[in-house]
Each structure stands twice: as C-alpha cells, then as structure tokens.
C-alpha cells in the first residue's frame, strides 16, 4: 500500500533538543535502557500469570480495559457501543474487529498523549508492526496481533521474561481470595509476581457494603469482629496472609489525604457507628483517617511499605456510572491539602525511620508547597512518582523540577507504572528512564550536578530507589526470582 504511513519510533524520543544535552541524555539512558523492570505498584490481573492462557484479541487486550483510551474516544463523541463497550451483563453490539476499526479511525485523537507513545512503542517493539495505525491499517493490525497472540511467546509468563520484568506487584482488596497468588507461590513465582494489600473495602465506611465487608473480614480471619480491637486484629491477620504470599506493601485510595489520630475509645465509638450506618460524613472521614494511622502503625510492626493514593473524585459522571459501572475514565482529580491532612499521622509515626510511607498526588500544586517540604523533613515519608494523569513526559518533568530542589532525589521512590495495561509496561518504564536521563543531562549541562553524580543518579532513579523504598532487597529470596523458561 503506497500511501501507508510508516511507524518509526524516534530513537532519541523524549531527549532534549540541544545537542550537548541530547548527547549526554543518550549516554545516561544507555546505562539503564536494558535494566530489568521493577514494577512495585500496578493493576495487572494475577490470573494471567497464574493461568498463563493466551490473550484474546487486540480490542479486549489493548483498548477495552484501558480507561485512558475509552475516555478520550468518548470525549470526542465516539459512542461506547461502537467501541464494543457494553453495560455489565450485556453483550457488545459490535465484533472485536469492528470495535478495533472504530479505535483505529479515531487514533489521531491521541496525538501528543502518553497513550499514543506507549501504544506506538507496543505496536513497533512488541508486535513488530511498521505502519501507523489508522483506518486503512486497522485490519492489518487486528490480524497481525491476532496471529501474534496465538504464539507461545505471547503468553503472559513468556512475556514476563521477554519484557525483562524482575518484579511485578498486583493489587488485591482485603477480601480477595488470593487464589491466583497461591498458585503463583506454588509455582515458585511469589518473589516475582506479588500481591499488594489494598484494604479500602474494609477501612472506608463510604465503600458500599462496608458493614458486610467487616463481617466477611471476620469470617476470613477467624476473628469475631465485634469491636475495634478484634477488628484491628483481623486486619493484622489479613496483612499476614498477604505477606505470606510475598506482599511487600499496602495501598490506600482515600478520597482525600486526611488522617486522624484518635483515642481508642473514640475509634471504638466511630467503628460502631460506621458499621451501623449511623456515622455522619465527618465521622466517616475521621474513622477513615484514623485507620490510615492504624495502618501506618501496623506497617511499623510488620514491615509492609505503605502507599497512599488520594484525591480522585471517583465516578464523576453519574449517568455513565449507573449504566456502565466504575473505571470508565470518569474519575476526576480534586484539590487536596497535605500539610494539615497528614499531620496527625506524621505526628504519630512520621519520625520513625523504620516506616516507609509513600505518598502520591493528583494535585500538582502541592509538589513545591507541601509535598517536597514534608518529604524533605519527615524520615518516614517519600514521594511516589507522578501518578495517573501525570505519568507522562511533561508530568514527570514537572515532578522532578518541582520536588528535587527541596526534597532531593533520595526522598523519592523510583518509578512505578500503576497500570493494568500489561503490554504497555516496557514502554512506560522506558519513558520514565528516558525522561530521567533527559532531566539529569539538562542539569549536568547547566552545571547543577556533576556528570559523575548523574551517572550514579540514573541508576538510583531506575533501580536503587525503588528497591530501597519497596524493600525489595529484604524479600526472603534475597534475589529476584525468575520463572522457569
């Protein structure tokens, strides 16, 4: 086809324009380009790795589960049914091929977005495609990807090797059966594919079914959860269950970073009211905030790294939520405060060097004002990498430029991809490495760090800090376990 546009990845993509900076960025990047991937926070499905069955087709693999893509198409008037998105329990109105064609026809909408960069990398480097995706090439893409997915080399475990993933954490709620991770443990993979303890379902009174969830927690742990102390004990047991399967971290997604440090008597009272559905909005928020402090205390005891991802107004679009459910790309960040919000927790445990508390933000106005000063003071606190909408070239550059001068590099936690899009993981880590190399190169050329420091730092930002922050060097194996080939 003579007018097919070639798909060519720019070898020096994301590097600075200036040649001195670019040369140095290239050299720094080369030091880590092939480093193994460490992915300590994400949302891949453990069933993939436990069952190792082939992926189905391009649409269900690459488009439908990716709310970055669905929301953008929807925002420009693409009807969800044309894409093959359907309400739970219903059947799609189009075939996967038809949905893929719709995606291809609108692929131009992603110009300038990180999704475009990740997808083009995936198309070229994972699938070996050499044409740009558009209406003309849609069928070629669909067929070629279909053929690839049928090959053994495109099964999940094989891709773990091909993608050079040394460690990947999934995320499970407190009440998850953990079946897949048990399978992975039996297969000797628990040091490589690991769960993360995400207990919002049993900590946040605003979660639907909270009281029932507490009951279920009691059943799973054999604790009669009839009071606050047994509730804490049940949580400790559940954390131990996750640790037994290799978990090194917990994760928390409260709407705001508000924390509290209540007396046991008050906590007991709120616990009772929350279970009975009798707590006010403020009381529910206080309970949720207090439980973050309790989680931090438990982390001090059991060594699990604690992550907080606050600040998203979930399911902003009521009509969409009622029809299609959550995770449709309608979660909107909101303004949050960290200075006052984190103070109760930090006053309780922030001076403990034995605690690793990694905080993320969707509100970048806090980088210089609150987060970098907090991380640059409290021993327990680190800044997580730019999250979600900010996991992008500009987002990463804003993060480094805003936080480094106050918090330094060493109060950060390396990169994590936070994704359910498994095939994009190599591209995402590659983007982070390129941007870090670029950032360091620019600062060397501007005489702000020495070249030898930059050589150390690119290693730290790629491997050192994430290993330290998530305590991966303290895992039982002491080594990154590799799946049998």
């Amino acid at each position: 086809m003579s007018d097919a546009k070639p798909l060519e990845l720019h070898h020096e993509r994301l590097f600075p324009a200036d040649s001195a900076s670019r040369d140095l960025a290239r050299a720094l990047y080369a030091r880590v380009a092939d480093a193994a991937i460490i992915s300590p926070h994400g949302h891949t499905d453990p069933a993939w790795f436990a069952e190792d069955t082939p992926f189905k087709d391009a649409l269900s693999l690459l488009v439908l589960p990716d709310h970055y893509l669905v929301r953008m198409l929807y925002s420009r008037g693409v009807a969800l049914n044309e894409l093959g998105v359907c309400p739970p329990g219903e059947l799609p109105e189009v075939t996967p091929r038809e949905g893929w064609r719709c995606f291809a026809r609108h692929y131009y909408l992603f110009r300038g977005t990180p999704s475009r960069l990740w997808l083009d990398s995936t198309f070229a480097e994972v699938f070996g495609i050499d044409r740009v995706l558009d209406e003309q090439s849609a069928d070629h893409y669909f067929d070629h990807i279909q053929a690839c997915l049928a090959e053994p080399g495109f099964r999940p475990r094989a891709l773990l090797d091909r993608f050079n993933i040394d460690f990947i954490a999934t995320t499970e709620h407190a009440l998850d059966s953990l079946t897949h991770h048990q399978t992975l443990t039996s297969a000797g993979l628990s040091g490589r594919v690991t769960t993360t303890f995400r207990p919002d379902d049993v900590l946040d009174p605003d979660v639907s079914g909270f009281a029932d969830n507490i009951e279920r927690l009691g059943e799973m742990t054999g604790e009669a959860v009839d009071g606050f102390q047994p509730y804490l004990q049940a949580l400790r047991r559940r954390r131990a269950d996750f640790r037994a399967l290799g978990a090194t971290a917990t994760d928390h997604g409260p709407p705001s970073p508000m924390t509290a440090c209540l007396s046991t008597a008050v906590a007991q009272t709120l616990f009772d009211k929350c279970r009975r559905g009798a707590a006010s909005g403020l009381e529910r928020a206080q309970f949720r905030g207090h439980m973050l402090t309790e989680m931090a205390r438990m982390s001090l005891d059991d060594g699990l790294v604690m992550q907080i991802h606050p600040g998203s107004r979930r399911n902003h679009n009521s009509w969409l939520f009622d029809k299609f459910g959550p995770d449709m790309g309608a979660d909107i960040p909101m303004r949050v405060d960290y200075c006052d919000s984190l103070q109760p927790l930090l006053n309780a445990v922030g001076n403990e060097p034995g605690l690793e508390l990694i905080v993320f933000t969707l509100d970048e106005s806090n980088y210089t004002r609150e987060l970098a000063p907090l991380a640059g003071h409290y021993p327990a606190l680190r800044l997580g990498p730019p999250w979600w909408f900010h996991d992008s070239p500009e987002g990463m550059l804003r993060f480094r430029r805003a936080t480094t001068e106050t918090a330094g590099f060493y109060n950060t936690a390396g990169f994590n991809d936070d994704t359910r899009a498994f095939f994009s993981i190599p591209a995402r880590h590659d983007m982070a490495r390129r941007i870090d190399a670029r950032f360091l190169a620019e600062w060397v050329v501007e005489g702000r760090i020495s070249e030898s420091d930059a050589q150390d730092l690119i290693q730290e930002l790629t491997t050192g800090l994430v290993t330290e922050a998530y305590r991966l060097d303290k895992r039982p194996s002491g080594q990154f376990a590799r799946a049998a080939g």
Copy 2:
C-alpha cells in the same frame, strides 16, 4: 535623530532557541502565517463596523480603553489624570497628546509583557513606524498615527480586510438593542461581524438592577415575566433575536464556575426571592448556577455554543471603582474549583455530543488537576484557550504543556483574542500561531509527535478547531462572507 532606537520586530520571535526546533517552528508557522483570522470571542465595538467612522487619536484608540495598559501604569505610580483617564461625566485634565507623552515616558514598564509585543507589532506592521516608543519619539508617534487614522485605509471596515479577518464576534448583553448588528445585517455583514449573547445582566441576581433587568427583558420579548417558565421563555426569545443576527454563541461570566441543577419548583422559588431581593448569598449563587444549566439546555435546543468565563473578583479596588467605575484593570482572579462546581451541569447535559460547552480559567492550577481530565472525558466539554492574563507566550505554553497529554489537542477550541483592542488583533493571532508552531516543533524534535502530524495540527490549532468548536461551518452562508470592498 541619531540616538533614536530602531524598532525592529524579530522575525523569529517566540520561536525556540535551539536551531532544529527553530527551523521546524518557522516552517510550521509559514503554513498558517497568512491564514484568515477567525475571532469568535471578543469585545470590539460593533458601532465601529456599523458606522465605519474614523478612529480619533492614538491615546483614545490604543491606550485609554486598554485596561492592561492603564493598570500597569497605575501600578507604578502614574496618576490616572496624567494619562487622560477621568471619572465618568468629567473632562480629561490633559490633551490626548499630553496623555500619549505620559504613556510613552513609561513605555519601558511593559518590557517583557505581551502588551509590549502586541503594541510593537501594531506600531511596526499596522502603522509602519521604525523607532521605539519613548519620551523622544512620543510626538512623532502621535502625529504619525493621527495622519494614518485620517486615511480611508484606516477605517474599521477597511481594516477588517487589511487584517484579513474572516469572522469576528462582538459581545452584547441580553438587553442590548442590537442596533449596530441590525445595521451590519442590512449591509450583508452579519456572517462576518456577529454578536454573542451575554446574559449575565438577566441571569445573575448579584448584578445591580437585576429585578429591573428582568422587567426589561419581559418588555423586549413580549413575555409577562411573572414566573420562572415565562422567564425561560423570554430568554429563549432573546436567544432567537441574537441568532437572527448571526450569533453562534453565548457567553457567561459568573464569579465562580459553580453550577446547580434544581427542580423547577425550587428554581421558581429562588427566582421569586431573587427578584424581590430576598435571597441569601447562597440562594443567589444557586440560582445563578442553575441558570447556567438552563442555558446549556437551551443550547442543546438552539445550537448556540456556550462559553463560561469564571473566576474573576471584579472591581477589587473599591476606591477606584467608586471614582472611575468598572474595567479599570482592578479585576483579580481568585482560586476556583471545577471538579465539583461543574458536576451538576455536566451530569445534566455533559454526555450530549450535541452540546458545545467551552470553559475558560484564570486559575491555572486547574489545568492538569481538573480541566484536562474533565475535557478528556465529557463529550460536551472543550477547553477554551488561555484567557486574559494567560493570553501570553508563557501562558500559552503552560496551557499546552499542562493540558495536551490528558485532553489531547482535539478537546480544545483554537485561539480567541477576547479583546476590545481592535488594532492588536493581528498581533494577538500571530502570537498564538507562533507559539503553537513552536510548541509543535519542540514536540517533533523530541520525538513526541511526527512531523506530518504537526503539519496537520498547526492547521487544526489555527483554523480547524475554532471553526468546529464555534460551529462556523454551520452558519447559514456556509462561507465566510466578505464585505464589499
């Protein structure tokens, strides 16, 4: 005069320093440098085009109506009377020439501001002046401009041609007589110079004279506005009046983006209280917020594009307002929220691809946190270009860098100049085109978009998106009407 400083416009102004990026920016800019101007939102006076009388003098044309200039001079201690600014109903204390000299003497204060770039462009390219404005050249400027303004080629309609303006919208309040636009329609110019429906005077209970305005609205539309439904009907009629004269859009300037979606019964009650002056501050805000939702519903019916320009604390300086009135450069932006504020309206009509809702901001902290995620999800929503204080090189770059990765290019609405400074319009559009070319060039050189995509995008950002967003291709003529020469 041997020490006169030459006024030389830098041919590559606003392009990036790096030569590869600059070369590409130059090439992209060349594709749109001569494109016709489309100005879908602004504040020029329709009387100029209806009556086509000559402009008076440099001071009253270029300085006095421009609050960007007056405020800056005032901020550095220039007394307003020395400039020729006087309270309403009083006579100026200085002649236009004396006021102009005062301006020239302080022209250095504008170094680094967009006003300086616009004015220098206007001086050089519209008036053909080749010396920098300062105390020495003040009289030369005044005389030269005076001579120009006496020429036929400097009359408003001739300038529409000379400036290559294909479309320009003025802004009139709901109670405006629209006389000038009727004249323009009779002259066959309504497809080129058009009004915009700006109904704050009859929607915002905090506007002085609100109840009287409602009465007047009733009289103008023949509706007995004694209840909420007739009030809505009167608004529909007024919108139809504007549409009949070519309007393609409405504009709304509430203090905050707060919206509401009330029951008809509650809206009726608030309407009555607001008219009687019996509504509380919160009730007035709720009514104002609900009326935004009603306007959005009417836009769905009649196809007018809806613009919201929120977040300015008007008339911050009480003494100045009491003495000189509004629009003296004392409007100060304030922190606003979009996530929660827009939710009621968006939940009512945000899923309608048939609605065009263009939102602006003076609070840039919302770009990445709220506005790009909202625009990157809701079909009805687009982001307006950087507004007012942010209509500047840095402001435009911040906008693109902050919004593109999440909202893409296609959820934006092109450029608009939003100005009453008619002579600056070519310079303002030129600045936007240069900055867009620069931004795209930088991203091509950094491997973030392809060069062929950038070639498409510079057309989209200059002409395509503004035409689509303001539905200018749907105007009755189907073509841009040109005034008879």
Copy 3:
C-alpha cells in the same frame, strides 16, 4: 589521594544549554557579576558584626544553624544527635569533627539542591578547597576550615569587605534590646549593617506570651499600654527606635496573608480580649489582620518599607518541637489566598504610591492567579523575590516566567537572600544574578525583549529595583558606608 574527586565549579553554571542563549547569558552576567551585594532582608546575627570575633568551627558555622541541611539529613534517617544537634540546655553527644564527618558522609543527599550549589561555591571560593566533600575528605575539610577561621581575613567585618557587601539588614523582634546595632551605630556601620523591625511578638495574639510582650513594650517605650491608642503609640515609638539605628523596613510573618480593616472601637475591643486571652481564633486572626493594616498606615507616615512573609505552618512536627524547639526544618508551607486576604489592607492604603508593601509567598499557585495581577494594579504593592524553598534555580525561573508577563519586571523588588548562613551570601546572590541573566538571555534570543533592554534590566534586577524598593537611596548617608579596613 588518587581517588579524590575534584571540586570544580562550572563557570557557566545555571546558564542555558543553547549556545546563543548561553553566550548572551554570559555577557549579561558579566555586567553584574562583580556588583556590590545589597542584602535588604536576612537573619545574620548582628553580634558577629558588632563583636567581630572569629567563627568557631565548620560544623557550628556551616551545618548546625542551617535548617535546610539539618532537615534533609533528618529526612533520610540521620539521627540528630549524630550531627551534634541537641535539645536546648543539653550538651552535644559528638564532637564538632564527628558531626562534620556525619554531614560529609551524607553530603550526596544534597545532589540537585540549591544548598549543594551554595556550599560547593562556599567551599571553593571562600575556603579555596579543590576536592568534593565526602567521607574521605571530611577531615581535610574540617581542618582546613578550622585553619581559615583563625585568620583575621575570616572575621565577620573583614568578610563584609571580602564579600563586597554594601548593605545588609538583620531582623530583630520588637522587644529586642538592639544592643548590637547600637554598637554598630557607634562604629559608624549603621548605614551598612542595619536592623529590621519584626513585631510579630507584639502584634500576633497567637505568639506565646503575647500579653506579657505588650507589657514589656509599654515599659520599653514609656507608654502605659492600657488601651489600643497607647498601644499604637508605643508601636510608633518602637519603630522610631529601629529607624534611629538605620532600619529601612519592617517585616511580618503571619500564618496567612489575611488582613482586616476594623473600626477603632472594634480594634479596641479585640485588643482587650486578646490581652486577656479571651479572644476566639477568628478574633485573634482579625486582630492580627487589622494590625497589618495599622502597620501599613504607620509605614505611610514614617517611610519604613513593609514586608509580609505569610503562609508557613510553623513547627509541624510536634515531637521535634517539644524536644528541640523551633527552626529545625519542620515548617511546612500551606495553601493561602491573597485576592480576598489582602483586600482590606489594599483598600485602605493600596492606592498610595508613597507606600512600599513587598509581599512574598510560599504558595506558587498564587503567582499568576493573584499576586501578579495584584502587583500589576496596586501602586503600593511589589512582589518579593522567590522565598525560602523557592530561592533556587527552578524557583526563580518559575517566578519570572509566572509573574513577568502580568506584573512586569518593575513591580518586583530585586533579590534578597533571607539567610542566617553568612558564608553562603555571595553564592546566593551569584545564583540569582546567573538565573536573571539566563532568563533575560532566553527572552532576547526568543525575540521577546531587545538586547539593549536586557542590558538595562540586568542592572535593574541586580541593583536598581532593590535599592528603589527598600529606599536605600534615601538613607541618611546617601552613600553606602564602608567599614574601615
């Protein structure tokens, strides 16, 4: 030692990467590189200059008083006692040399921070050291600095000359005895080392001991401070005391920029309640806010320049504060508002060109939204330079990029170092000059200002604006006094 890393300052540090911009930055910098230092706001100890005794050792001179350093070390788990920090009244657990070794061992933590740039400059240019500080070179550093400090050339007054400091202001609270400044006045140095009136101790009801402080104020001024008017009179007298010793400015550090303009009757009532400890939180804030307006009125009378440094949550870490006291690096910025907060004060005195009010911020989200528009309108208002965490290369660039287009260069106040780290003052001013030169060079290359304007502006940003804003050309001597050699 063969593996010692050389300490080499990059001669073109902080300049842009692009060669055209860099060449111009170098040329602009050269115009001011050797200009005398004017330091109108800071926290050096007047005893140094009054007594002129030698400094003790590297640790107590360079590390212990610098909360930027202590907080960063603490944040990465360094125990304070290992550094030689101890609670008030206790003795350090380590020798100065041991504390210094601990600092040296962790010096890598400062990579990329302004502290690192300032320290490396100090080591190389003040002490002539040519090796990087690390564990191996720690003793060499300690011994070499010790030897230097014993030399006459390293005494405080000699360093004033060597550092080319023409003017430096310290900061004293209202109840300070001013002994050292009296000594300096006797020595003919009051035009060169001057105090600043910082009356938070007698204006802010939340300061511990507020009522006692008022009593003491009465005693010091001979006013029976039994009512609001005598209290104002006592403040006027105290301001006169400071002015008599050369003060040109006041400084105010309220938690928020909230101001108020109350009637005298209300102010009297609040004054009484605050003294009795009977005022609510809101009443205390209103009183504090009103006193800012009173201070502005007094500044109009006596000509003292007024500075406001708001927005820090002091002593965020309760445990640390209880054990070690204030100024341990645990002050965290918080979100503040200027638009509404400053309105009462600005409506009272903001239109007075005879007032110099310099406002600072730790919340950069206000730069474009509120501060630049306010400074670009009110005659009394100027923007102070980037403060504290923002006194850094990125912070300065963000400030210029965010404020210049709206406020211009001429509503700013030059640079000030705001430091107690005397030895870092040359490096801090040098950093500001390099960044200003860089910023101007970039804008010249981008055609946004002319080269001849940039040549004027680098002088203004270095010397002109600070002299004008702090009225240093109006000091009695009319000249910068130089200490006898």
